[in-house]
């Protein structure tokens, strides 16, 4: 029996949490409205009324890059699942390190779950990250690996997918702890394995971070997931800039990228990342 032929009651029961006595909405519009009401009620219950003079608006976490912050409406919002995605050499890691630098520079804590073990501490320090305030979780790396994710030892993809699942579990633990302002998950380069994870993974992460003051940021090769209130920052490489004509005795001066907020965002920003 397909979902379309299911009776309305059976279709809605899991969504409305066991309230089976209510009559099922008839039309799609009514179903949508009921679902929105439920979501709104849950969000309103989660937020206690603010105290007098208390500013309950959560300030987004700025990256410290003026062009990007303007594009993102102030930065990456807290309590949301955000993402930075783009192909290799599009400046995604540079943007993430700028965010971590800005966050740790204010004295807050940040965590980076790095299942591929790609973080270069020297680059992070050069970007201004306070390394003492950064919790770095590095993925497992069996000896002798030299190929793709965790080595091309031919042991199958299951251990790699399991490691990614462990990484998402760690992200959930860190986001649920509420100790970190930013929890970042670096999935760039693991696109193939990432697709093997169930789609509910991202919904679960979104639910975990929903009422927290933590901003969850994912780094990926392409769009993975982003909560409705989150920001998706798409980056595209726009070439390298050298100190002279490329060749011996010249320096890599900068990496240029084009940033776009949202999957269908029209506004773009030019980004220049200086080489160390």
């Amino acid at each position: 029996m397909s979902a379309a032929t299911l009776p309305a009651t059976a279709y809605w029961t899991p969504v409305i949490g066991g309230i089976t006595d209510e009559p099922a909405p008839a039309s799609v519009a009514e179903r949508k409205r009921a679902l929105e009401d439920l979501l709104r009620a849950r969000r309103l219950q989660a937020d206690a009324p603010p105290l007098r003079g208390e500013d309950r608006r959560r300030r987004p976490l700025a990256t410290g890059i003026a062009e990007l912050d303007a594009l993102l409406g102030g930065g990456f919002p807290r309590g949301e699942l955000n993402e930075i995605h783009g192909p290799a050499s599009s400046g995604r890691t540079g943007v993430l390190l700028a965010l971590l630098a800005r966050t740790t520079g204010t004295g807050a804590l940040a965590a980076l779950v790095d299942p591929l073990d790609r973080l270069d501490p020297a680059s992070a320090a050069a970007a201004g990250v306070d390394l003492e305030r950064l919790l770095w979780l590095r993925g497992p790396r069996p000896p002798g690996c030299a190929g793709r994710l965790w080595g091309a030892s031919g042991s199958g993809e299951e251990p790699q997918v399991k490691a990614l699942a462990q990484a998402t579990g760690a992200v959930a633990t860190l986001a649920g702890a509420g100790l970190f302002d930013v929890v970042a998950l670096d999935l760039a380069g693991a696109d193939h394995e990432r697709r093997r994870l169930p789609m509910t993974t991202w919904l679960r992460l979104q639910r975990v971070v929903e009422n927290a003051t933590t901003a969850l940021v994912m780094l990926a090769d392409g769009h993975v997931a982003c909560s409705p209130g989150g920001r998706a920052l798409a980056l595209e490489p726009a070439g390298l800039r050298f100190s002279g004509s490329p060749g011996p005795a010249c320096l890599l001066k900068a990496l240029r990228a084009r940033a776009r907020a949202g999957r269908h965002g029209l506004r773009t920003a030019e980004l220049v990342l200086a080489a160390v």
Partner: protein, 423 residues
């Protein structure tokens, strides 16, 4: 009745004589490692005569390889002084204290050097000489200390018995009538053990820096683990969570019949943090969070990265995550230009690189492959010739697809590697 124990020779352990005395009675007054005074009240039921009790004391000392001399008397002063003066066993009958002390040298009475010189000028050599002095006359010359010394010389006690404090051990054991399996029932039992333990610690103004867990199993074996969080904690819930998380990661092989917890006490932490800086997370919550990530923490793959003082490319260390307060006078984080970051391949990937006039023109490695459109370099780095030498030529290259890589030629091996992506 009181007993004095004295070891005329050096003791193997400073607390050996006190431990020996405690094996007879908990009421022990220690005057340094030696002598010690025992309150023997009530021991007459076990040893009918003072001689039998004295012999038992000396036998116990001999069993512990302690050469001791003992004295039993009805006043504390007499028991202590006679024990220090007379070898073997001495028993002073009731009323015979002054007589027993009289022939002993005055130095045994613990008088100061000045008082000893004064008494020598007066011609007093023995305790008996001092005991015969009129207390009022001594009070006129020495003040209140004078009569006190005379009473002590007569074998009379001054002051109260000062019991040596028992060594503090924060340990709790729970024997279970029925063995338990699974973590859920164990959680309730752990709370029963941990709450009095942490209450005892709090009463001493202490917290537990570490907790040793010993679980007696039904197969007569023992499952032991030791927990040492980043910061001491006196919260039973935190410790319970840490114990349960550890048992979840390393489950015991059989049902649990006995729970023993030993806490290492440390003074409670007092730290003053800044009013204006963001509050740091409580050490308990941080320890709990890190314990939940035991898969990562146990393999040593989590912590704070730390740069090391070397020129070797890619060198770093990982230290345990323990953020402290922000240093004073730190400038506010300013907006700065974003930097290109290296996404490191660990270990670097062996690459096939074609060169044209010494400049890379093609790079092929697992996961990356393409013609080079632009290259900057070479940057030569070498060092550690005295240990494990490295020498390399680094190039930053742009490939046809738009990817930028850092490649290097290992000059010692003559092979090319891709160090990582520039991103």
């Amino acid at each position: 009745m009181f007993g004095g124990l004295h070891a005329p020779r050096a003791l193997p352990d400073a607390g050996a004589l006190v431990a020996l005395a405690r094996s007879f009675t908990p009421r022990v007054e220690a005057h340094g490692p030696t002598p010690v005074l025992l309150d023997l009240s009530g021991l007459g039921r076990l040893w009918p005569t003072p001689h039998a009790l004295g012999k038992a004391l000396l036998a116990a000392a001999a069993a512990r390889a302690i050469e001791a001399q003992a004295a039993l008397a009805f006043t504390r002063e007499t028991a202590l002084v006679v024990a220090c003066a007379c070898p073997g066993l001495s028993v002073v009958p009731a009323g015979g204290e002054a007589e027993a002390l009289a022939p002993l040298p005055l130095a045994l009475l613990e008088v100061t050097v000045e008082q000893q010189e004064l008494f020598a000028r007066w011609g007093l050599r023995t305790i008996g000489d001092l005991a015969r002095m009129p207390p009022a006359a001594l009070a006129a010359r020495l003040g209140p200390e004078g009569p006190r010394l005379v009473y002590r010389a007569r074998g009379e006690d001054a002051g109260a018995f000062v019991q040596a404090p028992l060594p503090e051990r924060f340990e709790a054991t729970l024997e279970l009538d029925w063995p338990v399996e699974g973590l859920e029932p164990l959680a309730f039992l752990l709370a029963r053990v941990l709450e009095p333990l942490t209450a005892a610690l709090a009463a001493r103004g202490a917290k537990a820096a570490a907790l040793a867990v010993e679980l007696g199993l039904t197969d007569a074996s023992t499952h032991a683990c030791s927990l040492r969080p980043a910061a001491p904690s006196g919260d039973p819930r935190t410790w319970r969570t840490l114990v349960l998380l550890d048992l979840e990661a390393h489950p015991p092989r059989d049902a649990i019949a006995r729970i023993t917890l030993r806490a290492s006490a440390t003074p409670a932490r007092a730290a003053q943090f800044s009013l204006l800086d963001p509050a740091l997370p409580s050490p308990e919550r941080l320890a709990e969070t890190l314990a939940r990530l035991h898969d990562w923490t146990e393999s040593g793959r989590s912590g704070s990265p730390q740069l090391v003082d070397t020129h070797r490319p890619g060198a770093f260390a990982v230290q345990s995550f323990a953020p402290g307060p922000l240093p004073r006078g730190r400038p506010e984080a300013a907006r700065s230009a974003p930097r290109v970051a290296l996404r490191a391949y660990r270990p670097p990937r062996l690459a096939h690189v074609l060169t044209k006039a010494g400049v890379p023109s093609f790079v092929g490695a697992p996961g990356v492959r393409g013609a080079v459109t632009a290259a900057a370099g070479p940057w030569r780095v070498s060092g550690d010739w005295w240990d494990s030498a490295f020498s390399r030529e680094e190039w930053d290259v742009a490939l046809v697809g738009g990817a930028a890589l850092r490649v290097f030629l290992d000059r010692l091996r003559g092979e090319w590697f891709v160090e990582g992506e520039l991103d």
